[in-house]
Subunit: 342 residues, 2 copies
Amino acid sequence: MKEKNSKNNRISLSEVARAAGVSKMTASRVLRGEGGYSEKTRDRVMEKVDQLGYLPNRLATVFAGDQSSTFVGVSIPDLGNEVFAQVLEGIDRKLGSFGRQTVLGLTQHTQQEEENWIRTVLSWQPAGLILTGRYHSPRATEMLRNAGIPIVEIWDLNSSPLDMSVGINHFDSGFDMGRYLTSCGYSNIGYVGTSHDTANAATTRLDGFCKAVEGGGGRVVKQLCLHDTATYYPGFYGTEQLLASGSGVECIFYQNDAMAFGGLQYCGSKGMQVPQDIGIAGWGDLPIASVIARRLTSMHVPHLKLGQAAAEMMIGRLNDEPVETCRDIGFRLIPGTTVRNA
Amino acid sequence: MKEKNSKNNRISLSEVARAAGVSKMTASRVLRGEGGYSEKTRDRVMEKVDQLGYLPNRLATVFAGDQSSTFVGVSIPDLGNEVFAQVLEGIDRKLGSFGRQTVLGLTQHTQQEEENWIRTVLSWQPAGLILTGRYHSPRATEMLRNAGIPIVEIWDLNSSPLDMSVGINHFDSGFDMGRYLTSCGYSNIGYVGTSHDTANAATTRLDGFCKAVEGGGGRVVKQLCLHDTATYYPGFYGTEQLLASGSGVECIFYQNDAMAFGGLQYCGSKGMQVPQDIGIAGWGDLPIASVIARRLTSMHVPHLKLGQAAAEMMIGRLNDEPVETCRDIGFRLIPGTTVRNA
DNA sequence: AAGCTTTAAGTTACCCGTAACGTAAGCATA
DNA sequence: TATGCTTACGTTACGGGTAACTTAAAGCTT
């Protein structure tokens, strides 16, 4: 019934060695190019390797030595959000160029999923982990501490990371947006986002945003946290809900650009003029934002670069190079044309 | 210098067993809940497991038995393309729910990258592979054949797959689009896409498209294959190039929606009316397409479902269930409002 | 030619679990 | 009381590589 698969019929090093008439150890040396064999022997072994189609078993190698694997576990909340897809792309490209492989985990923004994934992936002896976010469950934190491998926490800059951290200060980015909107003359401002119950970067942004708005004499009159994904359509109906509540909102800040596009679309469908009738500001600066007719007011974050930086820090640490433990990748406000100009 | 990391200081089963005063084997039985031990023993072992923070080493488990790992290798061309990000999300979610992990490989649309990745990932004894596309290098094909593990080729439906295949018939989808545009009264049609030298699904779509257009009495007067990524900006400048060549194009079909948005933007910036002055058709139906004011004429493909289906086929095969080897996930034409209505 | 070093191997032990088999104690049965 | 069966363990061997050690032969010195 349950047929044994793979391995059994795979060619092993012993078989190559036997075919070449040498010991396993000699074949191993040849394959690693470690020296200690004659040219004749090398050629004989390599000939058999090609002939038999031998593929080394890295599981055994890791197992044998004290080396850790070439895997790096990478946890990402979700890929529906283009931003994280780009971060992942940056990570995987860079890791790949250093001979490392990405083991993916989509945590769906929950600590429980993340914890489960961490447990599983650690059992595979990864060389290191790259995690999105700085908030982990207590059990996860304990496992991470005990793992004794390099860990990079990305996205949300963490001045006291588990190990290393790269990202931006979300509070500051929210603060800057709040200050900008205030400087544009808005004082009654709304917010549309999603809630994931747990603390996260979006919440931190909102905190910074409110602080700046209130500090500037304005008010965040309405905060809407939908139980939904942070995508276009929730942005659309979230805007509808917010405006229906009649709180005199002049401008809306969204959790991200996708939601802001939804809001833009809602306003357009109701004949409202942007920014004359209402201001719209997103966050994240999606690639499409730069090509759509109306330039969305947003906050640019170098996503690809962020991913690459995370991978570089990981590689550096794995190679025992000195690595800064905390790296701020920065952000940049995109004034755009969807809020009125002061 | 090169400090030994991980493993060495990780708690092993023997240590748990010793602490609990039983043999390794008994501890192993307890952890697998396989029976053959007393309650008292179980409690003692589990107490030590918690106390020492023992995490099993799956490498050793795989190694010990003849089982293969819980890894599934997944190769994807790139994540800048939202479409593939969604496919990957579908795959990883589904695999994860069955206790499998995704080992990612971004092939950047090249067979050489794919081949390198396949070689590496096979050395990790994956349970199976999910590959995007049906075209692989000869060496890759040989390795895949010899691997003796389930393989799902996705995206481009393949009636004679290496093992299993799920996707759509790109020729047909191009054909349908060609027929539709022809039926809208267009006869001088242009195409803007990218070339990756090798055969791929986009090329197949174009073939089907040309066939339908020519069969309907029209002509694909200008085909532009840029050496660039299939994203917004190349769509923008590709449109500029195409129109500058003055070939009297009435309508443009793009490799994907992102490029079509770029084209839409170019036309808008030049004061051209869509669809009065020129028709624009994309492919793929990006999520944003449904929320932008103007509904883009496109071809809808259920990306997430495609990914899930691929994962399901993989899981089915791994569980020795009967699995259809070829699954057509289908597509649907979105008439949209960016081409004129016949 | 004896003694030493280098080269090109082979041998052994080990990594961490699990399969397969062995065994001692407890209990029921004839 | 002898026999067989069950329960609850323990012991041994193994998987595919590699580190560390050993060995045999060849090359070099003096």
